[in-house]
Assembly symmetry: C2
């Protein structure tokens, strides 16, 4: 531990990350996880993948405890879910637990847009930060390649005789690139005459929106991966029956492209605790969690595993529990619900620019959001620990409000100062989590069973989690849901794509809205991932770059070091 | 050496490659090249990149000798240039020399088309073969990302106010993907209304055709890389002046995406000799050689470095000498010209299906092709060693013809049986190369100076190398060449894009045609790579998949091993 040599927490994340010493990853894997060097595939000296063979060999080992990190409804102020996941892991290790963290991989494209990096912040970061934010170990490139291969095979199949009778007007398999590129959203391909394929409308999504990303993160092993890849529906025939990737013989080659990527990536926190960073599907049209492979492997290697789900608990935890847990058999032993005073003030109607002024009343007003998330989680059978992610300017009065409300709700609040202090600052939270872990594990349940109609599943989530008054299905959506049931997919869970900024579909309705309507505009079938997507609102699957993209500031300094990243 | 345990040379290359033992790459680097583990970035246990810092530290070390591997005009029978490069390297080490090989990285896309892998063959291969043929160390993905970023920034610039006044009709920067995907050759982007960019015609090339690939392979260090990236011309303004990547601020972020990739990849031959495999630009619209970084670094680490150039000597060696050597200061000490009896028979008019019948007369007829390549190389100041890459069915008579012709031309022939016997089979060739190396180094010259008009440069290559009777410039090409000179690019070398199957532009004119015309249909400026491309014929920059793509046979077996790859 060389924390004293680190820049103050107010310094840019990249400076703190770069100043941190790193342990050789092979040493860390051996000492901390008992993974021998020959079971690792190193990528440089500070990143490694754990081999699939080694993972198989762990099958009969006892699993550790799983901590799910979720949050109140996101605001532009930032709630710090990743940062808190890292901080809690460091805090748990500080109090003598053997803990590791599982996170999602950041997407390359948005790094060059507005977003900057995604590897925690302040004194709670995973490193090497630049590598994690750039190509990392090539996983997303492998996913892009597998997606591109399938796309090329689809058009090639149509070009050479179209044995499967694919209707070119009904190809649903688009293309992907890991870049924010709005000009590719809507394109026409196959122009130039008969030698260049069949013209049709199509477009590109960003790689994280690929169904292959969702598949990659839900697959339990290489065989399951290939089975799911084969199940992908790429198009309809002229008779409207679905055509799968397997029907055109694409599944084997796609699995070949993904086999190395499927091995979880091991890195470390600034405090030298182990971290898996693996996979990163969208949290709207997909389920928004790191890979099942990473979570399951981590549970075999550590006593406590902290993992995060995307967005707020209404989307992230719901999908974690109703999709990832349902498909994989994973169950959280504790759920941590992150909130910040700033977020609750925004939920109480305060604008971001006014967050500087202490306002305990606004916290009080906004806490309806926190309360509803707590209530929702209880419906799944879990009583969360609330982590109050502390910001330097939070007043004692404001913090007091949150603590009181937690007490009223019968949940334990813990103030977490990991951003400023690293693991040391997360000891209160770590202790609260351990205390909860010592109780009998909760009897976690999904919120709907497999065997009810798809519409009913959507209505259940809308009613129980979003507290919508009613659900309206557009005619096309209803027709699609009916068709999916007729095709035998009625037993799948549903993945709702809606704004993350409100329980409703109106991003401006903060707090805990009621009486709203959930409009289901479209339904899509992700047969490989194993869920139905219900689209409720405008969902952006290919972001654009802003007027002044971050890329313009990113570059190399005189010594060849990266500058301008996050 | 465990050669006895390897399958017979007739076995599929992948079986031989997989049966070969591999030395841990860190050990091999230390023992054989004196590169310490901390100067390497391992990618698994059998691949590593050499760090840029270490490369800088070698600056003042004495350089070894450079052997350029080139070939007679390619035929569908295959001449085995890569295989001979690997075999010669193994042979050199067998006779006590300290030699390493530098090769191009295979492109991912074609693996799934017809081509299969590209890592040598028989007992002369580089390994791990699957890794090299698939994602390798992510270099091509990094190049695709850098290319995609620039493309996104171009359209984004136009979308947000277009400060540079880019004429959307005159954007020449296309997009790339490392996949054979004919449907992307000609597309319309930016459809869907004002929020989705400006509609315009565009298309995708395969990654190896990207100017960034050529830049990557010609850059001498990270700064030179960034300078070249900035020099890329992406479009014209409404006033027709060129806009560069630097003008829209893209060069820094692109360099960031490429900085890790720029480090050469170290692997090994089946016989545990060191190999760099790094970069792989097209040999028609680009210069077709592995990276300058790899070649220069190898020369600091080994006494003899064998490297290859794409296609036959008229294209590959010409570009190696007139572009790569001109820009980098590299000079070959020996040139090896590979030929096969089979290739010469095809140059003598025999069809591929009739190659089984011994036919010394056809070899005699076809040897005009060999003779012309020898004459051409002499014009550069080098007298090649001719490697007769031996095939099992070659008759003694046929081999005798080639030997006699070499004697008549005053060059040394050497029979090479590395495909069947590994390094042992290449000892005759290795000895011939060493003998040549012991003579004073040749005074290698480019075939045209920098300071003559671009047209004159093209005419020089056409006359001296292709032996064309005349050169015809289409009006547009002539206009472009004039414009490039007016813009100050008249001092650049030219890179001729034409069929590799003939000295002429007619792929069917085998042997040593004369009296033909070189038609220059179009001229393009690769200002970052630093050359002018003269397009003479149909050049395919985005291959399509065949009716039965190799992808359909590629998959994983029960144990998770790759099957069907080459």
């Amino acid at each position: 531990m060389t924390k004293d040599n680190l820049p103050a927490p107010g310094a840019p994340d990249i400076e703190i990350a770069r100043a941190a010493t790193m342990r050789p990853i092979l040493d860390l894997a051996k000492d901390r996880l008992g993974v021998p060097p020959e079971a690792l595939i190193p990528y440089g000296h500070h990143k490694a993948k754990v081999s699939l063979d080694h993972i198989s060999s762990l099958k009969d080992k006892k699993s550790g405890k799983l901590v799910l990190m979720t949050a109140v409804t996101p605001t532009p102020a930032g709630e710090g879910k990743t940062t808190t996941s890292v901080g809690l892991t460091d805090g748990l290790n500080k109090i003598g637990q053997n803990a590791m963290v599982c996170l999602r991989e950041p997407s390359l494209g948005p790094c060059f847009g507005m977003k900057g990096g995604a590897a925690g912040g302040g004194r709670a970061q995973v490193i090497p930060m630049e590598d994690i934010n750039l190509h990392f170990n090539g996983d997303f490139h492998a996913i892009t390649s597998a997606h591109s291969l399938l796309a090329a095979l689809v058009d090639n199949h149509i070009h050479w005789g179209n044995e499967q009778n694919i209707d070119p007007r009904r190809v649903n398999w688009r293309r992907v690139v890991d870049m924010n590129d709005r000009a590719l959203r809507n394109i026409v391909v196959g122009l130039g005459g008969p030698a260049h394929g069949v013209p049709r409308e199509s477009g590109f999504d960003i790689t994280v929106a690929s169904e292959i990303m969702a598949i990659f993160c839900l697959a339990t092993d290489l065989k399951d991966l290939q089975r799911r890849l084969g199940d992908i529906i790429i198009a309809r025939r002229y008779d409207k029956t679905p055509v799968t990737a397997r029907d055109i013989g694409a599944d084997g080659a796609m699995a070949v492209l993904l086999k190395d990527a499927l091995q979880p990536n091991l890195v470390q926190t600034i405090e030298h605790n182990p971290a898996f960073i693996h996979g990163g599907p969208f949290a709207n049209i997909a389920h928004g969690c790191n890979s099942v492979m990473a979570t399951q492997t981590a549970l075999k290697l550590a006593d406590i595993v902290v993992t995060e789900a995307g967005f707020g608990a209404d989307l992230g935890a719901e999908k974690f529990l109703d999709i990832k847990c349902r498909q994989s058999g994973l169950r959280p032993d504790v759920v941590v619900l992150v909130c910040t005073v700033r977020a609750l003030k925004m939920q109480g109607g305060i604008a971001k620019s006014d967050l500087g002024t202490p306002d305990a009343e606004a916290v009080e007003r906004g806490s309806v959001n926190l309360i509803r998330h707590i209530e929702n989680l209880k419906k799944y059978g879990v009583t969360p620990v609330v982590a109050i992610n502390h910001f330097v300017k939070d007043s004692d009065d404001e913090i007091g409000v949150v603590q009181r409300i937690c007490a009223e709700q019968g949940v334990t609040p813990a103030i977490a100062k990991h951003w400023a202090k690293g693991g040391e600052g997360a000891i209160e939270l770590a202790k609260a989590v351990v205390e909860q872990l010592e109780k009998p594990s909760p009897d976690v349940a999904t919120i709907y069973p497999d065997d009810i109609p798809l519409k009913k599943k959507i209505e259940t989530i809308a009613g129980e989690v979003y507290r919508a008054e009613r659900v309206e299905f557009h005619a096309g959506a209803a027709r699609s849901l009916k068709e999916f049931e007729d095709l035998g997919y009625g037993n799948l869970p549903v993945c709702i794509a809606k704004t993350q900024y409100s329980f409703s579909t109106d991003a401006k309705l903060v707090g805990a809205p009621t009486g709203h309507t959930l409009e289901v505009r479209e339904a899509r079938l992700s047969a490989g991932a194993g869920f139905i997507v219900a689209i409720c609102g405008d969902i952006m699957v290919m972001p654009g770059l802003p007027r002044k993209p971050a890329a313009l500031e990113i570059g190399l300094d005189e010594t060849g070091q990266v500058v301008g990243l996050a």
